[in-house]
């Protein structure tokens, strides 16, 4: 069973470059609208 998020797709392709303003070491991003396959 491979879960995937329905439409949160390839747009996440922008690269985050190192920034003097970076803040966090880790995180959990919860989304809704997940399709099960």
């Amino acid at each position: 069973m491979h879960p995937r998020i329905m439409t949160l797709t390839l747009g996440l392709s922008l690269l985050a470059i190192s920034s003097a303003n970076a803040q966090v070491i880790s995180g959990n991003m919860t989304v809704t609208g997940v399709e099960m396959h």
Binding site: P3, R4, I5, M6, T7, L8, T9, L10, G11, L12, S13, L14, L15, A16, I17, S18, S19, A20, N21, A22, Q23, V24, I25, S26, G27, N28, M29, T30, V31, T32, G33, V34, E35, M36
Partner: protein
């Protein structure tokens, strides 16, 4: 897909990105993308928002962002009547807020106690986890603008040693 996309973020350790198995909660199904910065790096939430914005997700997808919980390491300070977590080596800081749940109230109490022990002077480095305000909503409204700054997080966890 989202797991792979998050892993593309430069400062995100691709080996430490996981999509936690979703569980059905009523009508909609939730899933959590867990991510961690590369060793010695930090993740910029502006860049993360930019990446999510780039999805151009629109109405009718029945999907959205439920919440963003982050963990940050820094020093506690009390200034301008605000309890802040200041990130070393960065201009960034978080305003720390108290939540309503038992866990949130207990975590916030630990934060205030750490500050009290130091007589409200800047503390040594601590680790704070919290839910970022303004990071939630359905597409596309959640994508339209960057959540306000300074960022405020509702404290959900605290560790005196990073």
């Amino acid at each position: 897909m989202a797991r792979d996309a998050t892993a593309r973020l430069y400062d995100v350790d691709e080996n430490k990105v996981a999509f936690l198995r979703p569980k059905k909660l009523g009508k909609y199904t939730h899933g959590t993308i867990k991510f961690q910065a590369r060793k010695g790096k930090l993740i910029d939430l502006d860049k993360l928002h930019e990446s999510v914005w780039a999805t151009r997700l629109s109405k009718g997808t029945r999907s959205g962002l439920v919440s963003l919980e982050v963990t940050a390491v820094g020093s506690l300070v009390f200034t301008n009547k605000q309890l802040r977590l200041v990130i070393p080596g960065s201009k960034a800081f978080f305003i720390l807020g108290r939540g309503k749940s038992k866990q949130e109230r207990a975590a916030f109490k630990e934060v205030t106690q750490a500050l009290l022990q130091g007589n409200f002077r800047r503390t040594q480095t601590v680790r704070v986890t919290g839910t970022v305000e303004g990071w939630g909503g359905v597409w596309p409204s959640v994508l339209k603008k960057l959540p306000r700054k300074p960022r405020r997080i509702i404290v959900t966890g605290f560790q005196a040693t990073p």
